[in-house]
C-alpha cells in the first residue's frame, strides 16, 4: 500500500522533473533539423532557475487574481499531468485519473490564465485571451469528442482501464481509434501553442496567442507559468502514449523490474513522440489565425465521425 502511494508520488515528481527536459530536447532537435546548433537540452532548467531568482515586476493596477493565477495554473496542470499513467498503471489515484477530470483541470487552468491576461488591461493580454478562448471553444469539444470515442470503445473513462483494454485481446484495429488519435494530435498541437497554430519560440509576432496572454508576467510568476506550459506538453504526449502505445507500462502490482522496464519504455515513447512532433513542426508553416478554427474544427469533426463509426464497428463485435 505504502509502496503504491510512493510510486504515485514518484510519478508526480517524475513528470515535474521531466517536463523541462522534454521542452529542451524538442528545442534541440528542432534546432538541429534547421541546421542550427541550438541551446543545450538542460537550458529550460537554467531558464527556470534564472526566472525564479529574478525580481518580479507587477503592473500597478494588477489585482490579486493576477498574482494568484500562475500558482493555480501550475497546480491544476501538475495534478492533471500526475494523474496520467506514465510508467505504471493502477496507482492509488488512478480511480480519479479520469479523462473528463483531466479535461476539466486543464479547462480551469485555461480559464484562469485568460482572466489573468485580461486583468492588467493591456491590449496584448486582451487579444491573447480572446483568441485563446476562441480556439478553446473548438478545442475543448474536440478533445471531449475524442474522449467519448475512446471511452465508448474501451467502456471506461478511466485511463488505467483504457490502457489495459488497449493491451487486451478485444481492442484490435479500428477506424474510430485512428480518428480519435488524429483528433487528439490536432488538439494537442492547438493546446500547446505548437507551430501550425501558434509559435512557441516567438514573442514578436502579432499572431501570437499564448505568449500574448503572459506578456505582463515576470520573475517567479513567469517561471511557474513556463513550467506549467512544459508540463502540459508532457501531459498530452503521455496521454497519447498511454492510450495508443500502451506496451511496456507496468501494472502497479508488479515488482521493481517491471517498473524499470516501464520507465525505459516511457522514456522511449516520449522521445519518439517528441521527435515526431518536431519533424511535423519543421515541415509545416504556421497558419493564419483565422484559419485555426477550421483546423480545430477538423479535430471536432474527426471525433464526431469516430463516434458515429463506432456504431458501425460495434456490429462486428
Amino acid at each position: 500500500m505504502i509502496r503504491e502511494w510512493l510510486t504515485q508520488l514518484g510519478q508526480a515528481a517524475l513528470v515535474l522533473g521531466l517536463a523541462p527536459l522534454l521542452s529542451g530536447v524538442t528545442r534541440k532537435i528542432r534546432a538541429r533539423l534547421l541546421r542550427r546548433q541550438g541551446p543545450s537540452i538542460i537550458q529550460p532548467y537554467r531558464d527556470l532557475l534564472k526566472l525564479i531568482r529574478k525580481e518580479t515586476v507587477i503592473a500597478e493596477n494588477a489585482s490579486w487574481l493576477f498574482r494568484a493565477a500562475p500558482y493555480v495554473v501550475f497546480g491544476t496542470t501538475w495534478v492533471a499531468a500526475a494523474l496520467v499513467p506514465t510508467f505504471a498503471t493502477g496507482l492509488p489515484l488512478s480511480a480519479s485519473a479520469d479523462l473528463i477530470v483531466i479535461v476539466a483541470l486543464l479547462g480551469t487552468a485555461r480559464f484562469l490564465l485568460a482572466l489573468a491576461g485580461l486583468d492588467v488591461g493591456t491590449s496584448f493580454g486582451g487579444i491573447g485571451s480572446s483568441r485563446e478562448m476562441m480556439f478553446a471553444s473548438l478545442a475543448e469539444p474536440a478533445m471531449l469528442m475524442a474522449v467519448f470515442t475512446l471511452s465508448l470503445f474501451a467502456g471506461s473513462t478511466e485511463l488505467s482501464s483504457i490502457s489495459a483494454y488497449m493491451l487486451g485481446p478485444h481492442a484490435g484495429l479500428s477506424i474510430s481509434l485512428a480518428l480519435a488519435l488524429v483528433a487528439l494530435v490536432i488538439v494537442s498541437l492547438g493546446e500547446n501553442a505548437r507551430i501550425p497554430v501558434d509559435n512557441p519560440a516567438t514573442h514578436l509576432e502579432l499572431t501570437m496567442v499564448h505568449e500574448a496572454m503572459i506578456l505582463e508576467y515576470s520573475g517567479r510568476h513567469l517561471a511557474v507559468i513556463e513550467a506549467a506550459a512544459s508540463l502540459k506538453l508532457l501531459l498530452y504526449l503521455s496521454l497519447i502514449a498511454c492510450v495508443f502505445i500502451p506496451w511496456g507500462t507496468a501494472p502497479s502490482t508488479d515488482g521493481t523490474v517491471a517498473y524499470a522496464i516501464g520507465l525505459g519504455a516511457y522514456a522511449v515513447k516520449l522521445a519518439g513522440l517528441g521527435f515526431l512532433l518536431v519533424v511535423f513542426e519543421t515541415a509545416i508553416a504556421k497558419m493564419r489565425v483565422f484559419r485555426v478554427p477550421e483546423f480545430l474544427g477538423v479535430a471536432l469533426m474527426l471525433g464526431l465521425l469516430g463516434t458515429i463509426m463506432l456504431f458501425v464497428s460495434r456490429i462486428s463485435r
Binding site: L173, I175, A178, E294, G297, L304, L305, V312, S313, S316
Partner: protein
C-alpha cells in the same frame, strides 16, 4: 476470416469515408486532384483486400480502380486544370465548416438507415453498405457545394467510387458489368472533359453560375 482480417477491411472502408471528407475540406485544385487519387487508391486497396479474402475476380475491379481512377483520370484532370488556367482556388458555395457538419449528418443518416435495413446480411456487407452510402452521399454533397465544373466532376467520380464499394460488399459484380462500368466512367470523363472546354469557350469560365445566368435563372 479472423478478427484482424475483418478489422483491416473495416479500417480500409472507413478510410474511404475519411478521404471523402478530406476531399470536401480541400479548397485548392491540385490538392483536390491529389486527394482524389488517394480516394481511388484506398478504394483499390479495400476492394483488393476483399478479393484476397473471398473473391479473386474482384482483383480486376481493384486494378481498374487503381489504374483508371488512381492514375489516368487524376493526371488527365491535372492537365485540363493547367490548360484551363484555373489552378488557383475553388469557390465553394457554402463555407467549409457548415459543409463538414452537413457531411457528418449525412454519414449519421446513412448509418442509421443502412444498419437496420440490412439486419439479415453478413457483418461485412452491412459495414460496407453503410460506408458506401456515406461515400455516395458525400459525393453528392461535393457536387452541390462546389461551383467549379472540375470539382463537380471529382464529386461525381468519388460518388462512383462509393458505388463500387457497395457493389463489392454485396457479393461483387459480374465481370462484364464491372468492365463496362469502368469504361462508362472513362467515357463519361471524356465527355465531361470535352464539355469543360466547350463551357469555357462559350462563357470564358468554368464557374457553373454562368450557366444559370445563360438560362436566365438569376440576375
Amino acid at each position: 476470416m479472423t478478427a484482424l482480417d475483418g478489422d483491416i477491411a473495416h479500417l480500409l472502408a472507413g478510410s474511404l469515408v475519411l478521404v471523402s471528407f478530406l476531399l470536401l475540406y480541400q479548397d485548392r485544385m491540385f490538392a483536390l486532384l491529389n486527394f482524389f487519387a488517394v480516394h481511388a487508391c484506398v478504394l483499390a486497396f479495400s476492394v483488393g483486400w476483399q478479393a484476397l479474402q473471398r473473391a479473386p475476380h474482384l482483383f480486376i475491379t481493384a486494378l481498374i480502380a487503381l489504374v483508371f481512377k488512381g492514375v489516368i483520370i487524376p493526371v488527365a484532370l491535372h492537365r485540363i486544370v493547367v490548360r484551363l488556367g484555373i489552378h488557383r482556388t475553388i469557390e465553394t458555395v457554402v463555407s467549409i465548416g457548415p459543409t463538414m457538419l452537413f457531411g457528418m449528418a449525412l454519414v449519421a443518416l446513412s448509418v442509421v438507415v443502412m444498419l437496420p435495413v440490412t439486419q439479415s446480411s453478413g457483418v461485412f456487407v452491412r459495414e460496407d453498405l453503410a460506408f458506401a452510402l456515406s461515400v455516395v452521399l458525400l459525393g453528392f454533397l461535393m457536387m452541390v457545394t462546389r461551383r467549379n465544373a472540375v470539382s463537380q466532376v471529382i464529386g461525381f467520380m468519388s460518388l462512383e467510387n462509393g458505388l463500387v464499394l457497395a457493389a463489392t460488399g454485396a457479393r461483387g459484380m459480374p465481370l462484364v458489368v464491372e468492365i463496362s462500368v469502368g469504361f462508362s466512367v472513362l467515357i463519361a470523363f471524356l465527355v465531361v472533359g470535352i464539355f469543360l472546354f466547350r463551357i469555357r469557350e462559350r462563357f470564358d469560365t468554368v464557374d457553373l453560375q454562368a450557366l444559370d445566368m445563360a438560362r436566365g435563372e438569376s440576375a
